[in-house]
Subunit: 346 residues, 2 copies
């Protein structure tokens, strides 16, 4: 397979960024067999510093420096350091910008500005940042098209499990009528415990102790961002985040749990998108008691799953990891594979 070198700049060196770099480092041979020869020409992180070199950075050296902590500027061999994200995007001569920086959920910033700048410069963008995509997918998609660039978002739903590619490349032609998913590992971990009789607050405490849930669990225990993203990507619906009906799991009582168990049902927080009888796209997130035979009923712990109901194939369900540094890092690989296989790399 053709292995044209991919010149890539990485914005954001947190868990997911480092997970991606570990894959690049450990799987070099396997990635080359799949046509991916990745040259990391720049990295940048608000807290961890930056490094850039048009000839490419030494990923192994970079990972060591990151593991030791502190800022990396001057600690890895590079022709430039001290660049901020926008300078990195503008000056690194990368073909692909991977945007994985922490972003405010309400504004999508600073990721949103990074994505805009890269697309305006005609660079392909790969991101697993839900915020900017849920907020501004349509605007960004239009911007990408205007600049002959690609906007790749596999990691925004189900981490590196290739759910969006499966849906948009393989299932859209089968006529997707409805999507129902368990797209939030934290909530599902909590519900798995609650289905065993643990209370909401004890389950939340457990999830926080394991590092799944943030101190502010609002976005963790919902999943409306994924519903908004799927509505836009798979149904071309100009849906705002505020259009997603939301009911959390905090209201589920021990009684609700017991009565579902008695009927051989399991509570799951289901994000769904479907076309109603008037052709309107409706997106919601709410707890549903599913019969134990339903393909989503037995998806437990931090595992995620989506059922695509299609006209020609009936129900197709994909089950896989919904979080994790390596698993989400793999979403970047997945997007690079799509670009390479479709001949879209410049």
């Amino acid at each position: 397979m053709q292995s044209k070198e991919i010149r890539l700049a990485l914005i954001g060196l947190g868990n997911v960024g480092q997970g991606f770099l570990q894959i690049v480092q450990n799987d070099r041979l396997r990635l080359a067999e799949q046509g991916l020869a990745i040259n990391v020409v720049a990295v940048c992180d608000l807290h961890r510093g930056s490094a850039a070199d048009a000839k490419g950075l030494d990923v192994s050296e970079l990972l060591s420096a990151l593991a030791q902590g502190g800022r990396i500027d001057g600690r890895v061999k590079a022709s430039h350091s001290g660049w901020d994200a926008l300078t990195t995007i503008a000056e690194s001569q990368a073909d692909v910008i991977v945007e994985l920086s922490w972003s405010d959920f309400k504004t999508g910033e600073p990721a949103l500005s990074h994505v805009r700048a890269a697309l305006r410069a005609g660079q392909h963008v790969i991101t697993s940042n839900k915020g900017p995509i849920a907020l501004a997918y349509k605007e960004l998609r239009t911007l990408a098209e205007a600049h002959q660039a690609q906007l790749c978002i596999e990691g925004t739903v189900m981490s590196g499990t290739p759910s969006l590619r499966l849906a948009s490349d393989c299932l859209k032609a089968a006529g997707i009528q409805k999507v129902q998913g368990i797209v939030n590992g934290t909530t599902n971990y909590m519900l798995t415990a609650m289905n065993r009789g643990v209370s909401y607050f004890d389950a939340l405490k457990q999830a926080q102790e394991l590092g799944f849930a943030e101190a502010d669990p609002t976005s963790d225990v919902e999943g409306f961002d994924a519903a908004a993203i799927m509505a836009q990507l798979l149904f071309d619906a100009p849906l705002q985040l505020s259009d997603v009906d939301r009911t959390g799991i905090v209201g589920l009582t021990p009684n609700d749990i017991a009565s579902a168990t008695q009927q051989d049902k399991r509570w799951k927080l289901i994000a769904s998108v479907e076309r109603d009888n008037n052709g309107q796209i409706k997106a919601r997130v709410s707890p549903l008691a599913l019969p134990s035979t339903h393909p989503l009923a037995n998806v437990n712990g931090a595992t995620n799953a989506i059922t695509f109901s299609t006209e020609r194939l009936g129900d197709v369900t994909l089950v896989g990891p919904g979080a994790g540094r390596i698993e989400t890092g793999y979403a970047v690989i997945s997007d690079l594979l799509a670009l390479q296989q479709k001949g879209l790399l410049k």
Copy 2:
């Protein structure tokens, strides 16, 4: 999206061939939106006759003629009729040959000869015929490469559920270590009944009455063909059909069933392929009692599923239909989408 016309000849007008034609007819607009403009320039079937026209056949008229039964020659508007399969492949000026004819399982014929002839002529081939692929994948793949043609086989495993594309395009780079699947709708239907206490022979009778199982159930109640195909496609293993270890479900006793149920397990016939400690690829089909929490344990009836165990993503499971005329017909659409998206159509 670009919609270059695809000139397609269809060999085999049985259930799957007609299912495919129905999709072409009913979903013309949706397929065009996905970049597929399909022009059926020839059809041919040993029993149902043939028709060819370089300007394209009227699919609606063709489906009516087929529904009325008898041979179609002279009953649909066409510039040629009476062609056999090899003449159709040679003379129809099609870019893509869709080979869906009934074939002898032991020799793969006549499909194998059709596939060889088309590839030698540099035509892309799409087939859901397990026989020729399980028997001769490597030879056909080499032939395809020599003639710059593509050999597309999505329908050979899990009917139109895009399992092979998911695995080869999206998961191979994650390092597939093991594949375990329920890839035979008939057996799974029977086992679902047997797990409820029905005997093997009564379950087989039910399946035959529903039209799932053939009179000779050998190939239906196993699934070693799918194991051989996945070994070759996903592990590049030069495996023969005879290399697949096989244990059927006929030996499962009511005692085996009862004792599994007691332990909250379910019997499933699992086709598996994995790399052993010596790096050898082992393929087998055998009944396994899976804990009820296993993603394959709750796949019931004629539904199929495959779990891909990968190094970077852990387990990824795809669940979907494993049979059906429209569902398997959709496999052809799936392969056409892959060709179109990768810019491989001539």
